[in-house]
């Protein structure tokens, strides 16, 4: 048999970690230390999950959440990435936006939820804007640092070969800053995912993984809560591994601009 590919091996390792954590949970749940209603066994959770998937409600909740998250996240990229790059490239842009970013960044995105509800009401707009707010700053700051860390020698070399500002931007600065840009995308995604669920807890009133968790509280449905949490974790995991992992493998790892950890 051939040795498993690095990708397969990393999935295997991740599976082992998750199985171990699940086993510990199950032991505690079955030990009877806590009431079953509060700490349902994994089989109960699995049953709930299957039935929620079967009746389509889980897909609909996840779909809403993903839609809001991706909307806000994309908005953050479309605005944060170019703005961060311009900040790194032009002093005037930096001087204008950096103080603004420094002042807004420390405010937790969820602290804006009540304010945004006041302005935009309950629903999608508020949630999307909260996600945007949360994802914007990691994207912006990483793009900014990335541009500033682009090796001067690449700019010189490209300049000698006749690159104009436009070519410099697309063919040197963006790829040269890519390790930071990818880190920015990753962090922005994590923040967006956290923010969407958090905002849904408060700002939505019918669909969404955050809302379903909050709603389940009313009926002490711990199994519904945990099933939803599991779905949130799974989607985050899939994005992290598949989307960002493959983005990284096809860019900075391939170019030797980042290395895999030893061992």
């Amino acid at each position: 048999m051939n040795a498993p590919s690095p990708g397969t091996r990393s999935i295997l390792r991740a599976t082992v970690t998750i199985l171990a954590a699940a086993a510990i949970y199950e032991i505690i749940a079955r030990s009877g230390i806590f009431p079953r209603a509060l700490l349902p066994t994994l089989t109960t959770v699995a049953d709930t999950l299957v039935s929620m998937i079967a009746d389509g409600s889980m897909l609909r909740h996840a779909g809403y959440t993903l839609y809001r998250m991706l909307f806000g996240f994309s908005l953050a990229i479309v605005i944060g990435l170019p703005l961060g790059i311009l900040m790194g490239r032009f002093r005037a842009v930096e001087q204008f936006f950096l103080p603004l970013a420094s002042a807004l960044m420390p405010i937790p995105s969820l602290a804006w939820v009540p304010v945004f509800i006041l302005w935009f009401g309950l629903g999608n707009t508020t949630t999307v804007l909260i996600v945007f707010y949360a994802a914007m700053f990691p994207m912006l700051l990483n793009a900014w640092s990335g541009v500033r860390s682009v090796n001067q020698i690449w700019l010189r070399a490209a300049g000698v070969m006749g690159a104009d500002e436009n070519s410099l931007f697309w063919k040197v600065i963006i790829p040269g800053a890519s390790p930071f840009i990818i880190t920015g995308l990753r962090q922005a995604f994590q923040r967006a995912w956290i923010a969407v669920v958090g905002a849904e807890l408060i700002a939505t009133s019918d669909w969404g993984l955050g809302w379903v968790i909050y709603d389940a509280k009313e009926f002490l449905n711990a199994d519904v809560m945990i099933a939803s949490l599991a779905v949130i974790g799974c989607i985050g995991f899939v994005f992290e591994r598949l989307v960002f992992g493959s983005l990284e493998r096809n860019t900075i790892l391939r170019w030797g601009m980042a290395r895999v950890a030893k061992g």
Partner: protein, 261 residues
């Protein structure tokens, strides 16, 4: 008229600690297709001078004329090879690096790849056209950098100690290869080094600089047939002569270039 004229070129660096002279009133000419070495002890201003000729720095005094015209800024008439291996774009393959200048010129894709492949053949790296720089050795990366600087066909090639960070064996190979490339392309070359043997091996003429704050001390033409034999008596005579010109302070450093980079 000479190809490049360096006229009273001076540069003073403004630093937080005060004004530091980089190079003082340097004067010399370079003929078309000539291989000129700039030789001098560390810190004398060789890189400063080369960066002025490349157009990265503006002189605070004097001027550079290329083909009779005073130049400011960089231009496609000059190709530059730096000492730093990191000069290649890591996100482009060897071929992608070499095509960059042609891409900027608007040469169609197929044509520029053909040209780039020829340049890679010239530096004997056609087999590695599709390799990314981090999979190439230091010497190979510098060869790609040379091919890249030549690809868009500049008349002048400026090189700042391109082989200084290589081990002695690789460096010998690279010098031989560069001499060959120069013979085939007939570029005007300005090559910075603080290694005496390297200067004698490569140059038609060596411009020796004084220690910091540097200026031109003397020009030594190397009248040896090519390819040159580093073990011949005449070769060693030239080395001695250059060492004498550099003065006692520079002797240890200049003969033992590889340890002092």
């Amino acid at each position: 008229m000479s190809h490049i004229e360096v006229r009273d070129v001076s540069l003073v660096y403004d630093t937080p600690a005060g004004r530091v002279p980089g190079v003082q009133a340097a004067n010399f000419d370079i003929e078309a297709s000539e291989f000129l070495c700039l030789l001098g002890p560390s810190g004398c201003g060789k890189s400063t001078l080369l960066n002025i000729i490349a157009g990265f720095l503006s002189p605070t005094g004097g001027e550079i004329r290329i083909g009779g015209k005073a130049v400011t800024g960089h231009g496609l008439d000059r190709g530059v090879v730096f000492q730093d291996f990191a000069q290649l774009f890591p996100w482009r393959t060897a071929l992608g690096n070499v095509t960059f200048g042609l891409e900027m010129k608007g040469v169609p894709k197929q044509e520029r790849e053909e040209i780039a492949l020829k340049q890679l053949q010239l530096v004997k790296l056609e087999k590695f056209a599709n390799a990314y720089p981090h999979h190439l050795s230091g010497g190979m990366q510098q060869r790609v950098a040379i091919a890249r600087a030549l690809a868009y066909n500049p008349a002048v090639l400026l090189m700042d100690e391109p082989f200084a960070a290589l081990d002695a064996f690789t460096r010998d190979d690279m010098q031989r290869l560069l001499a060959e490339v120069w013979r085939e392309t007939r570029k005007t070359v300005i090559y910075v080094t603080h290694n005496v043997a390297e200067a004698v091996y490569l140059a038609d003429r060596v411009v020796v600089m004084t220690p910091h704050p540097g200026t031109v001390k003397i020009e030594v033409p190397i009248r040896l047939p090519r390819p040159r034999d580093p073990l011949s008596v005449e070769f060693l005579e030239y080395q001695k002569e250059l060492l004498r010109q550099l003065g006692p302070a520079a002797t240890g450093q200049a003969t033992n270039g590889k340890a002092n980079d």
